[in-house]
């Protein structure tokens, strides 16, 4: 029996040695340590991270445990409970979508790089990690989210001029595809597209969301401008194939985000390589390392490579993202890792963002 009582400040001092690897500050000054309880020789506390998808969660848990065990005399057991609370970057109140903490745009330079497939899997993966996630299909002319995320309850307009989003795999969904179903095309000029996106952004009952993923149409057009002018986009992900021609065009989308001061979370390389289902051999159909090289050159994080895999396509056609349908597959793990890397970048950005408002003097 230890003669001296263990104090809270001893435990907190010990925990000051545990650093968050992304924010470069210790977990005590970041105010991550909550609910500290000392029961005799047993210490318990929560470590409240900035995202449930944190890739270093287990490492931080173990470091916190060891720090207290080794630095505070008399402690026999340390119980660490990992929790998460996604922070909202500081932006002017009037422009926020109520309840939505972070808006993440997913764009690409050209069509057919698997942007919607990536967006649905990122959304489903983040939701599975415990985050509250919404997915807005901003591809007004070719909405594919209703096909790729089979929802038992589609979105529907309510009497009070708002839209109730659909839901699938814990992700709230909104798409033009719900409002113009079947094979009916939307034949709209720019101003109509602009209005439609504004309405779906602002009048959908998103509720509380940690992440709203916005699946953009390919390229740089009306919809992109509307998005960046209507709401403060926390940041953007560029989906690219390894092919250089694909990358050169991705650059245009990247420059558009830079010009409109949308932070770049990183580049995600889709269709990185093909694994032959017969021999297991890896074939780099579109070349290798293009996107990783480009992100290095641009100083933008590389969020990972996702293989060209029949299973991803088949599950998407079935309406179930591969991270849900086959969570143990290599493709699902690649997408989960990308979602974790993205969540990490969002957390960093949420801390760095400076508040910008117009102050009356």
């Amino acid at each position: 029996m230890s003669s001296q009582r263990i104090t809270e400040s001893q435990v907190l001092d010990a925990l000051r040695s545990v650093m968050d690897p992304d924010l470069h500050r210790d977990i005590v000054s970041l105010n991550f340590v909550r609910n500290l309880k000392i029961d005799g020789t047993v210490v318990s506390f929560d470590v409240n991270l900035t995202t449930p998808a944190c890739p270093v969660k287990d490492r931080l848990r173990e470091q916190s445990r060891q720090a207290v065990l080794s630095a505070v005399p008399g402690v026999t057991d340390v119980r660490v409970n990992m929790t998460a609370e996604v922070r909202r970057p500081t932006v002017p109140q009037a422009m926020q979508i109520k309840g939505v903490r972070n808006i993440v745009a997913v764009g690409s330079g050209k069509g057919g790089v698997g942007k919607s497939t990536v967006a649905t899997n990122l959304a489903a993966s983040l939701a599975r990690s415990g985050a509250k996630v919404g997915l807005l299909d901003a591809d007004i002319y070719g909405p594919t989210i209703p096909i790729m995320m089979r929802s038992s309850r589609p979105a529907e307009p309510l009497a009070n001029q708002t839209i109730q989003p659909g839901e699938a795999f814990g992700v709230k969904l909104m798409s033009m595809g719900y409002l113009s179903p079947g094979d009916q095309p939307l034949i709209w000029r720019g101003p109509m597209a602009h209005k439609a996106l504004q309405q779906t952004l602002l009048t959908t009952n998103w509720g509380e969301l940690d992440y709203l993923i916005v699946d953009l149409p390919p390229g740089t057009g009306d919809v992109h401008l509307t998005l960046v002018q209507t709401v403060p986009v926390t940041g953007a992900v560029i989906v690219s194939t390894p092919q250089d021609v694909g990358l050169q065009i991705s650059m245009k989308t990247l420059r558009m985000f830079q010009q409109t001061k949308v932070h770049l979370f990183g580049i995600l390389e889709n269709m990185s390589y093909y694994v032959c289902p017969h021999c297991g051999g890896r074939d780099e159909i579109f070349g290798h390392g293009g996107a990783a090289e480009a992100s290095r050159a641009l100083g933008v994080p590389f969020l990972g490579e996702v293989p060209l895999d029949r299973a991803i396509r088949e599950h998407a056609d079935d309406g179930v993202p591969v991270v849900i349908a086959e969570p143990e597959s290599a493709s699902a793990k690649a997408l989960d890792a990308a979602a974790g890397a993205l969540a990490q970048q969002v957390s960093i950005q949420a801390w760095k963002n400076v508040p910008l408002t117009i102050v009356e003097e």
């Binding site: 932006v91 002017p92 009037a94 422009m95 960046v228 002018q229 209507t230 709401v231 403060p232 986009v233 010009q259 409109t260 001061k261 949308v262 932070h263 760095k352 400076v354 910008l356 408002t357 117009i358 102050v359 009356e360 003097e361």
Partner: protein, 112 residues
Amino acid sequence: MASVDEARVTPAEIRKKGGERITIRWGDAHESVFGARYLRGRCPCAQCVSETTGVRMVHEAHVAPDVTVGGANLVGNYALHFDFSDGHTTGIFAFDYLRRICPCDVCSGGPA
């Protein structure tokens, strides 16, 4: 985000003094003070700068001396929008444009 060039065109603080002036303190600590008429005469919209030739059509000299800024709003993360008292509302003033037209003695106004 941390680069010097970025800081130059990223506002740290935006202040509005009634309808008469907008002050921006930039990420590099430089401060720009824009009068309402100065801004109205440098509106970058397609009505004030010809879409086909790029030649400025509306100059400060064309603007009423007593014009004021009724409202000022942020546009996404990259620009400001003003409601001028003469009814003109179509300009989107990107931050890098505002920095280019800083009227202080050092920057000397930039393009009029």
